[in-house]
Symmetry: C2
Subunit: 163 residues, 2 copies
């Protein structure tokens, strides 16, 4: 009986850990494999002297999947919306700014239940654009959401769609 | 009879003019209505001091339809390929370069028969991105193709696709 109890307790513990692991995996923001074929929303260059230079210096492009495009149009992003913030080195030479290597791929994914504590959005950054280089992880609340709260009126999204 | 001959001549002339009109219309490059949803290929900022500043100063984005994406991959663009060169004002302020109003939408469309004299490509520019403001018209050979011949080795296309 003792043996059985120990085994049961061990299984329970293992089961709980697996459940926690599953929860963590469920809350992981997937790498958006095909984002480069999504609609290009807008772009911007951030240079030395800009307050966000340390984090976001370079040229960035925003891409949105079809659900997110509905969000830009209506002001309310439906679950399933994904916005990709694609940051490349900006190389200045001979009167031109050209694109260089990818610095980071930022991703916002809307799931109002899973990410209820951060405005319904999951946030992740993929260093160098590499799928397994997660640079945000469990720090989304402080590293991302804290600034995005300023945009609560537009569902926590800074960018606006343009023609 | 004189009356009939005159009428026949007048009809022949009218018919010839209509044929010429139809030819001109056939060679007109259509405005690419949905290009903003095509794949974003790459971007660049051209500033004062760059040799192309007078014509192309600002921030431009290149978009390609599916046929053109095959061309970037293979080096040979199939008929039906369309590449859009979307030039916006570049507004510099506070350490950032932001997008402004659309200056011109340049378009290349591949039709190896219709545009045989300009490398198989038809060229047009739409002033302000407005469909009826054609700024190239019948001057494609001198205004566009003359420079694009430098890229004969990549089927007259300057841009390269990137990840």
């Amino acid at each position: 009986m003792t043996h059985h109890r120990t085994t049961a307790a061990a299984l329970l513990t293992a089961g709980s850990l697996m459940a926690l692991g599953a929860m963590a995996a469920d809350n992981a923001v997937p790498y958006p494999t095909n984002y480069r074929s999504w609609q290009h929303v807008k772009s911007m260059v951030i240079e030395e002297g800009h307050p966000l230079y340390a984090s976001f210096g370079g040229i960035h492009h925003l891409y949105a999947n079809l659900e997110a495009m509905k969000g830009y149009a209506t002001g309310k992003f439906p679950d399933g919306s994904i916005i990709a913030f694609d940051l490349l080195e900006a190389m200045r030479a001979d009167g031109a700014v050209s694109e260089g290597a990818r610095k980071v791929l930022g991703v916002m994914v809307k799931d109002s239940k899973r990410f209820a504590t951060t405005g319904g959005w999951g946030f992740e950054g993929f260093g160098g654009g590499t799928a397994n280089q997660r640079v945000v992880g469990d720090k989304a609340a402080s590293a991302c959401y804290a600034c995005h709260t300023a945009q609560a009126g537009s569902d926590y999204v800074f960018s606006k769609a343009r023609d």
